[in-house]
Subunit: 478 residues, 2 copies
C-alpha cells in the first residue's frame, strides 16, 4: 500500500503493484475501468486493476518469468490511462516455489516443480475475528502441519458463529443494509494481509468466494453484484501466489443460486485470473460436475474415504477431500469424530491417491472452534497428520497412485500399504521379483516407523503386530 509502484526488482511469483491516483467522485467501483498490460519479451499478460478508496487505484501483478517486464495501463479515466513502467523479475527467494497447479493428472506441484501434497485445514471465518485471535491463529499455523487453509471471504453466520465481524465487505447503504455496488477497501486490505501472512508461512489460501452461512445478504446478492464482487476479489487477490479459488462452500445449500450461476462464476474467475489459479467448488450432498473444464480439482465433502478412488476415476482430476468430518465433540455429525478416525480417513484417502483435509470442532467456553475462528488446536489428530505429511514428503515426488484396495504408491518403486481397522497378524506381499525392497511397519497413531530386518522381493510373508491402523512402507533397497 505504498501509493506508488513496487521496487523495480521483483522476485519471480512475487507481488508487483502499480499504484495510481484518480477519480474519487461518483462511484469509482462502477464507473472506472482499469487494467494494465504486462509485457515480457513477446508475451503480454493483462491484469485488472481495482479501486482501493480515497482516489487510490492499484494494479497487481505476479510475474512468472525472469527478466525484463514493462507495462502500460489502460483506463477510461484519463488520469489512470497510459501509465508505463518497467521492472526486472529476479530469482525467487528460497521459500517461494510459485503458485500451485495440477501436476501428473491427480497431483499438484508448485510452479518451480516442487511437489505440493495438500495437507489442508479449515478456519472458515478466521479473518473476521479481530487481530488478537487472528494472530493466535497464525502462531498456531506456524507450528501446525497444514500447508493449505480453507477460508471464506464473507463473514459467517452459523452455530458457534454469532459474533459480528469487525468489518464488512461492502459500504452501508443510506437506506440501511449494504450497498453492493461499493466495496469496503479496508475489509479487503485486511483479507489480503491475512492471505499474505499465510503466504509467509508457506500456506495456500483456499479462498471460498461464496457460502450459505449468512445473515447479511451476501449469499443472496443480485447477479450483477455477484459478478462484480468476483472480479473485484480476483483483481485484488490473484497476484498472491498462494491463492486457490473455491467457488463456494456447500454450493448446493445455496438455494438462490442455480447451476448456471455456478458455471458463470467459474467462467468469470477463469477469465479474470491471469494466473489460472486452482479452481474448485465444495459440496454438501451433491457433487458439482467436476468434469467441467474450469474445475481444476475435486473439492469433496464426504465421510466415506473408502470411495475416494471412485471420485478420482470418475472425474479424472485431483481429489481433495476438504471435508470428511472434523475432529471434535459438537452435536453436529460433521464435527464430532475422534482424532483417530480423522487420521484413519487421511490415510484411506492417501493410499487412494487423494488428499484429505482437517478441521477441528471441540466445544469451547467462548465458542472459539478452530474450524471457524481459528485460535489454538486441541485435538489429537494434528501431530499424526504431521507424521503423515512427513511420509508423503519422503514418498514419490510424483504423488501416490492407488494400486490396490490396500496400497498406493508407484508400481515397482514405492508402496504404502494401509490396513485401517483391519489387523492382520501376517501379510503376503507380492512385489516384483527382479528388485529388492526394504519394509517398514508404521503405526499411524503411535507415529512409529519400525524397519523389518532384511530385504525382500517377489512373493513373501511378513508378520505384523495384528493391531489396527498400521501401515507398511516399502521402498527399493539401495
Amino acid at each position: 500500500m505504498n501509493g506508488q509502484t513496487s521496487s523495480d526488482r521483483i522476485e519471480r511469483w512475487g507481488l508487483y503493484e502499480v499504484w495510481l491516483t484518480g477519480a474519487e467522485d461518483g462511484n469509482p467501483f462502477l464507473d472506472v475501468r482499469l487494467s494494465a498490460q504486462f509485457k515480457h519479451k513477446h508475451r503480454v499478460v493483462e491484469a485488472e486493476g481495482f479501486y482501493d478508496g480515497d482516489g487510490r487505484y492499484c494494479i497487481r501483478f505476479s510475474p512468472d518469468a525472469l527478466g525484463a517486464w514493462s507495462y502500460v495501463t489502460r483506463s477510461d479515466c484519463s488520469a489512470l490511462d497510459g501509465k508505463t513502467g518497467a521492472f526486472t523479475c529476479v530469482e525467487p527467494s528460497p521459500a517461494n516455489h510459485g503458485p500451485v497447479a495440477v501436476c501428473n493428472t491427480y497431483h499438484f506441484a508448485y510452479a518451480d516443480g516442487t511437489p505440493h501434497f495438500p495437507v489442508g485445514s479449515t478456519c472458515y471465518a478466521w479473518t473476521h475475528q479481530g487481530d488478537d485471535l487472528e494472530k493466535q491463529t497464525l502462531a498456531t499455523l506456524g507450528h501446525a502441519p497444514f500447508n493449505k487453509l480453507r477460508m471464506c471471504v464473507f463473514p459467517k453466520h452459523y452455530v458457534y458463529n454469532r459474533n459480528e465481524p469487525p468489518c464488512h465487505p461492502f459500504a452501508r447503504a443510506k437506506a440501511g443494509g449494504w450497498d453492493f455496488s461499493r466495496f469496503n477497501p479496508r475489509f479487503f486490505q485486511h483479507l489480503e494481509q491475512r492471505v499474505g501472512d499465510l503466504c509467509q508461512l508457506g500456506i495456500e489460501a483456499d479462498i471460498i468466494l461464496f457460502h450459505p452461512y449468512d445473515r447479511w445478504g451476501y449469499s443472496t446478492m443480485p447477479a450483477e453484484a455477484d459478478d462484480r464482487y468476483l472480479r473485484y476479489v480476483v483483481a485484488r487477490l490473484a497476484a498472491y501466489r498462494n491463492v486457490w479459488w473455491s467457488m463456494a462452500n456447500e454450493y448446493d445449500l445455496m438455494a438462490s443460486k442455480s447451476m448456471s450461476d455456478w458455471d458463470r462464476f467459474f467462467r468469470i474467475v477463469r477469465e479474470s485470473d491471469p494466473y489460472q489459479h486452482l479452481c474448485s467448488i465444495h459440496n454438501c450432498r451433491r457433487f458439482y460436475d467436476h468434469r467441467k473444464p474450469w474445475v481444476s480439482h475435486c473439492s469433496v465433502q464426504r465421510s466415506d474415504l473408502s470411495r475416494a478412488r471412485e471420485w478420482r476415476e470418475e472425474y479424472g482430476k485431483p481429489v481433495v477431500v476438504d471435508e470428511c468430518q472434523y475432529e471434535g465433540d459438537i452435536e453436529q455429525g460433521f464435527g464430532n469424530i475422534p482424532g483417530w478416525e480423522l487420521v484413519h480417513r487421511f490415510w484411506l484417502g492417501t493410499i487412494a491417491g487423494c488428499y484429505v483435509g482437517h478441521g477441528e470442532t471441540y466445544r469451547h467456553p467462548e465458542d472459539i472452534l478452530w474450524w471457524a475462528k481459528g485460535g489454538v488446536l486441541h485435538g489429537e489428530s494434528p501431530s499424526r497428520i504431521a507424521f503423515l505429511r512427513r511420509i508423503l514428503e519422503e514418498g514419490p515426488p510424483e504423488g501416490i497412485e492407488p494400486i490396490s484396495r490396500w496400497a498406493g504408491g508407484r508400481e515397482g518403486e514405492y508402496y504404502l500399504f494401509y490396513f485401517g481397522v483391519h489387523q492382520p497378524s501376517i501379510w503376503t506381499f507380492d512385489l516384483p521379483p527382479s528388485a529388492r525392497y526394504r519394509l517398514e511397519v508404521i503405526d499411524t497413531w503411535a507415529m512409529t516407523i519400525a524397519p523389518v530386518e532384511g530385504t525382500f522381493g517377489g512373493r513373501f510373508q511378513v508378520a505384523l503386530p495384528g493391531k489396527p491402523y498400521l501401515a507398511v512402507r516399502i521402498r527399493k533397497a539401495g
Copy 2:
C-alpha cells in the same frame, strides 16, 4: 433312530418319525418314492420320506397344531405303502417356541409369537471336525450369545480348512470319486444329530446347502444330483424346527451354477418343505434379487453397515447381515477386524432395523478358527454382542425400525440412539411433547447402562460423555 414310530404323544413343533423297512436292493435312493400324508382335522400335510440305508426308511414330520393327527404312507414299494398310524400333538415344552418365521415385514418371531432377534454366528464346517471338537463347540455355544449358527452341509476346502472330513455325504463310486446317486446315511445322521444339539441349545441352524469351497466335486455336481440332494436334505431335516435354509454361501462365486439354477434350487426347497422354513441366499459381491418370492429374508455379506437401511428398503424383507467381516487377525480382509469394529457394525445394523452376524478368525496353532471349525471363542466381541442381545430382548417385541440416521426404535415408544464413532458431548433430542421418557446412556463397549436423572419430553438437550461407541436408550416413563 428307533426303527419304529415315535411315541404316540408328540409335542407341538416336535419331531415325529415313522420308521419302515423296505427294499434294500438296487439303489433305493433312486428307485423308491416314499411320502406320508399327515392329517389333522380337515387339513392334510404331505411329507417326503427318505432312505436311511440298510433297508430302513423314515418319514419325519413336525406337527404344528395340537390334537389328534393320523397318517397314511404312500410308496411305489408295496412294503412301504399304505402304512397308517396316529398320534396326539401336545403342548410344547417351555423352551420350544416352534420354528422361526418372518414377522412384521422386517423381523422374525417363533411360531408361538415369541419374538426372535437373530444374533447369529458362523461355524461353516463345525460338523466335519470329529466328536471332540464338535462337543467343545457345543459347550462354547451353550454359553455364547448366539441364537443362530450358519453351517454348511458339505465339508469345506479353504484356507485353514485342509483337513479331510471324517465322513462324506455320498458313497464312493467304484470307479473312484463319489457316487452322487447314493447318499451316505451316516453323514446325514451325524448332521441331524448336530442340528438337534443346536435345537437343544435354542440355536437356529442356518443350513448352507451349497458353497464354493470344495475339492471333492460337491460344488459342481450335475443338475439332477443337485436336485436330488436338495430333496434328500429337506426330507431329512425339514422337521427340525430350528432349521433355516440358506441356498448357498457366496453363491456368486460358484461359476458352475447359473441364476436359473439358483432359482430352481429355491423352488425345489420351497416345494419340498412342508413347513416353509426361512429361505435365503448369501452373496459374496453381487446380491441375489431378494425380491423374488421364494426368498424369505436377505442374507447379506457387506461390511458397510451404514447402508443396511437401503437393503431393507430395496427388498422389503428382513435383512440379516450374516457376514460383515469377522473379528480376527488373519490375512484375508474378511477376517481381521477388531472386536470393537464388529460390535460397532452390530449396532449400526441394529438401529437400521436389521440383524447382524458374528464370526471369529483368529489364527490358531492348529488352524482351529471358530468361523470354520468351532472350538472356543477368543475374541472381545461376544460379550458385547451378548450385551446388545439383552438390549434387543428388553426392547420392543415387534423389533426396531429405523427412525433416523442416528436412531431406531418405535416412534413415540422406544428409541435406541447409536452414535458410532461420533462423540458428541451434547445432544438435542426431539421427542413427542405429550409423553415423558427416561433416558439411559449406554457404553456399548464397556457394557454399562447409566440412567440420566429425571424424565424428559419434547425438545431437550442432554450432556453426553463425548466418547465414541455410545448409545442412548429412551423408554416411556411409568
